[in-house]
């Protein structure tokens, strides 16, 4: 398990990086955190002739909060995003989701933007980008462009990025006032790729659900957002009628997703699972929408007691 020979490039600026990428074209790969790329190279599943290592490029390591969005630079590690109080305050979903990305050691190296660009259907952060109606900032030989999430993903492990382009940031839009979010996933082992996962957002206006939407992990080949407003909208949050609407939300999710069978679970199981996770996550989002103070770091830390509403003692999967 040793990689095939490659040329290592270590540009210091975005311009240099883009110039190298333009030069090496399809024979080049960007190396950031390397948590997916290095194993692929070691197993010789890919043998690019050039690695463009962007770890020394300046200006890519910042998290910037604006009234509209949280902008995450290409060298922000998952753990940096996880620990950023400012990002958490601005958009709690980020931490709710990122703690589910693999294990701490991987989060310490892996980058959030890298995970989005890798476009793995089992990645958490592409689903989060979608739920936030986010964008990816890209610099190429022809300048800067900003690509909306909807246009960014082409298929599993496939995006619209051109060989000469470097993704320099992801922009996660903040939620409308009165919106709560939650993230839930279930994996075979702690930190594994999820069998299924869901990110939900739910807006409460004057005590009534005015909007709800969800995006998914491991059950759609590219991120997709399902509008659940038609099924849970109009109900008083955390009321009996809201609870009844959850079953219809689960049904809508079941119909929306297109999971595949693999060695860990059947497609049918994943369909059931993601529907159930949604059913359990929506009330939590409603809770967050109505009492944001509950949304503290402690309850989101992996291993903390879960708040699965049907089953208070059960923490096998995480609902945060």
């Amino acid at each position: 398990m040793k990689p095939a020979p490659f040329v290592h490039h270590a540009p210091r600026t975005v311009e240099e990086a883009v110039a190298v990428l333009a030069e090496v074209g399809h024979d080049g790969k960007v190396l950031a955190g390397g948590q997916s790329l290095i194993p692929i190279l070691n197993m010789r599943l890919a043998s690019p002739g050039h690695l463009v290592d962007v770890n020394h490029v300046s200006g890519l390591g910042d998290i910037t909060i604006t009234p509209e969005a949280v902008r995450v630079g290409a060298l922000v590690r998952h753990s940096g995003l996880e620990r950023s109080e400012a990002a958490h305050a601005a958009l709690p979903l980020l931490r709710q989701a990122v703690v589910n990305v693999a294990h701490p050691a991987i989060r310490n190296r892996g980058t959030t933007v890298g995970s989005i660009v890798h476009a793995d259907a089992a990645g958490e952060m592409p689903a989060v980008l979608a739920l936030c109606d986010g964008t990816v900032e890209v610099v190429g030989a022809n300048g800067i462009r900003e690509i909306g999430w909807h246009d960014f993903f082409l298929g599993a492990l496939e995006t619209v990025l051109r060989p000469d382009e470097l993704a320099v940031a992801a922009r996660f839009n903040r939620m409308p006032p009165g919106t709560g979010t939650a993230f839930a996933e279930s994996a075979r082992r702690s930190g594994d790729y999820a069998l299924a996962g869901v990110a939900v957002a739910l807006t409460v206006t004057d005590g009534v659900v005015s909007a709800a939407w969800a995006s998914f992990v491991s059950v759609t080949d590219v991120p997709s957002v399902l509008d659940l407003t038609p099924v849970v909208g109009g109900h008083e949050a955390r009321s009996g009628s809201f609870d009844n609407a959850l079953d219809r939300a689960a049904e809508a999710v079941r119909e929306h997703v297109a999971p595949e069978t693999d060695i860990h679970a059947s497609a049918d199981y994943r369909r059931m699972l993601v529907a159930e996770l949604t059913r359990r996550a929506l009330p939590l989002a409603a809770l967050h929408a109505t009492s944001p103070a509950n949304d503290s770091f402690e309850v989101e830390r992996r291993g903390a007691p879960t708040r699965s509403l049907t089953n208070p003692s059960f923490d096998h999967h995480r609902v945060v």
């Binding site: 398990m1 040793k2 990689p3 095939a4 020979p5 197993m43 010789r44 279930s186 075979r188 082992r189 702690s190 930190g191 594994d192 790729y193 069998l195 060695i263 860990h264 679970a265 059947s266 049918d268 199981y269 059931m272 699972l273 159930e276 291993g303 049907t310 089953n311 208070p312 003692s313 059960f314 923490d315 096998h316 999967h317």
Partner: protein, 815 residues
Amino acid sequence: MSTRLFGTPIKRKEDPRLVTGGGRYLDDLGHDALAAAFVRSPHAHARVVDIDADDAFELDGVLGIYAHDDLPGKVGEPLPLLIPHPALTHGRTGYALAREEVNHVGEPLVMVVATDRYVAEDACQRIRVRYEPLPVVVGIESARDGAAVVHPDVPGNVAAHLTQVVGDVDAALATAPHTLTLELDIERSASTPLEGRGVYAQWDDERDELRMYSSTQTSTGVRAAVAAKLDLPLAKVECIAPDVGGGFGVKIMHPWPEEVLVPWAARLLRQPVKWVEDRREHFVSAAHERGQLHTVTVGFDDDGHLLALDVKFWHDNGAYTPYGIIVPIITATQLLGPYKPGAYRVEFWSLYTNTVLVTPYRGAGRPQGCFAMERTMDAIADRLGLDRAQVRARNFILPSEMPYDHGLLFQDGRPLKYDSGDFPATLNKLKALVGWDDFATERAAAVAQGRKVGLGIGCYVEGTGVGPYEGSHVQVETSGRVNVSIGLTSQGQGHETVFAQIVADELGVRMEDVFVTTGDTRKMGYAVGTFASRAAVMSGSAVALAARRVRAKALRIAADALEVSPDDLEIVEGTVQVKGAPATSMTLGTVSVLSNPLRYAFDEATQAATQFAGTFDPQKPPVAEGEEPGLEGKDFYSPTQATFANGMHAAIVETDPVTAEIRILRYCVVHDCGPMINPMIVEGQVHGGVAQGVGGALYERMVYDDSGQLLNASFMDFLMPYASEVPTIETDHLETPSPLNPLGIKGAGEAGCIPVSAVIASAIEDAEGFPITRMPISPADLWALRRRYAAGEIRPLRRASHPSESAARAEEPTP
């Protein structure tokens, strides 16, 4: 002696070194060595048509590329069949490099030696092999069917067929008031030590000598096999097991192709060569275990007493049988656990498949047997509406019946005769620990919350400490330092600690003065290896015997010097002294000086042993007749039979009513390995075993597709449990001594993993209300079973296994 160390939970001597990065594992050695890498078959079954390595030779840094044609003499002959057996009528072993046919994905075909592993792998990628694919046999059903065969000269893929019978099973079944038949399935798993295999060989061209290091569980076995293969005198081969990062069975198998080829290449190239296995190689070219299908028919009376047990099982032995049929023999015999089976017939077929070969993995056939027996016990309880623990207790062999001879032949070719154990006491401890009798209340509370919980149980007996022998050498230096050598290897079990504990007690020295060396053929040439939970029993006993010899010699020499009788002497903290008059004394270091009469002193202390010192009686020879110089002794322990440890586990499991996710709420272990040398190490062994058992029960499987590709050959997809998946393990111990060895001890290494699949299946079945017959089980599997159950395709349990439920059930009319 002051405080006895035997039985004390002292911290492990080796840990400060190991946990601070001081370990010297195989890949920590030989940084300048050449690197070997292998081209391995991508086909499960194929004829090798052509190998073209021309492009690879052109790479800078490639020193050699070898295929089977290049292997001379015995190196090119089939690898040895380690444990022949009369029933193994069609034993087959592979070649170090495949000759004309490959029989599993991962089988080595070509070895490349290059300046480093990167270049070696580059070269491998350039080698083109043409194959002619052959029909593939994957899985027991396909092997049993026999439409395709792995080896053309092995009809029906049957490597071995063995039946053992005690009593008249057919008659007992015919007259039994009740009979049941169960079809059971255990899938493949593997040892998967965190350090894979590895070999590093140095050839000394001036002396014609080979020194090799291998990450092995048997350095003596590897040494003998390599000497034979390479046609070298044994005296010219040294084999050392450095620190080894786990074995769990896979490293007792030997010689691996690489263990022959790497030394051969080192001699050929006259340069050190090293091969360190990577993870993918380990999955596809080391060994797996477990895979068996069982059909159990049992006859029993109204009280649940076994009258007859008729077991047929099919064992997947993979592509070759170098380790013989040890695994299915263990299954066939250890299946019986703590029970008297009535009449017993066990018949197995060991079958070839085009998959990685099968050799013992911790538990070594017992988890499968335990699963079959314990599922049967639960089924009997369910059929009769009896408490599951009670049915077990009714069939126990009682302490008064020990030693108990089952009338079968065990894996060591000797009678399966239990030496010790108090099974009713073990069960009582377990029931108290888990709260067996109160579980009905717990369950009712959970059910009221909409939760599903279940309680499971599993009992086992484990034959440990099999022969033929182990030995030890103990030596006291003039400084008082005590050197202990054992030939058996260590893979992290704490041998440096427990054997030092034994020697410190036996010799009367301080623990910190004792230094243990393991698995180095330069220090101890006669040894068997670390497997079958045998290190403590075999080497522990040998160490005690050797230390006793040294002690006796020390007392003889000191008695002479102090002019007292040896009977009046004792040794306390390294000083030999007169009992009741400790001022009359000499240190063991001084005794060591006197034990070796000198012409040349090498320090002040040793001047006492020189010829003009007046120490020795001029009328006697300096070394007395019958004595040897040096304060040292050697002894061997060779028992007539294995010693039998036992244990019982219980678990409380919760299953999510919707998602079918499975969570172990409590896991309780009661274990009896006799007197514990170091209870902390025993607990550690039990914990590790349970962790591997949980892997086998809920996470790990080897997923082969129909073409023989292993689909999950990485730790991303082979789900070895993390610490987060392993429950807190509650333990209690019983210490029933074995009458068979000087310390009364029994083995503990494998125990933890043996009953886990049985226990978890029992608990899930209890939570769900329908039978669980196949392990491992994932949430998706359980969810699919629930759907089949809801569709009426699976019959329900009678749900009578709990006192509260039997009471409730008693009020209902019997269906």
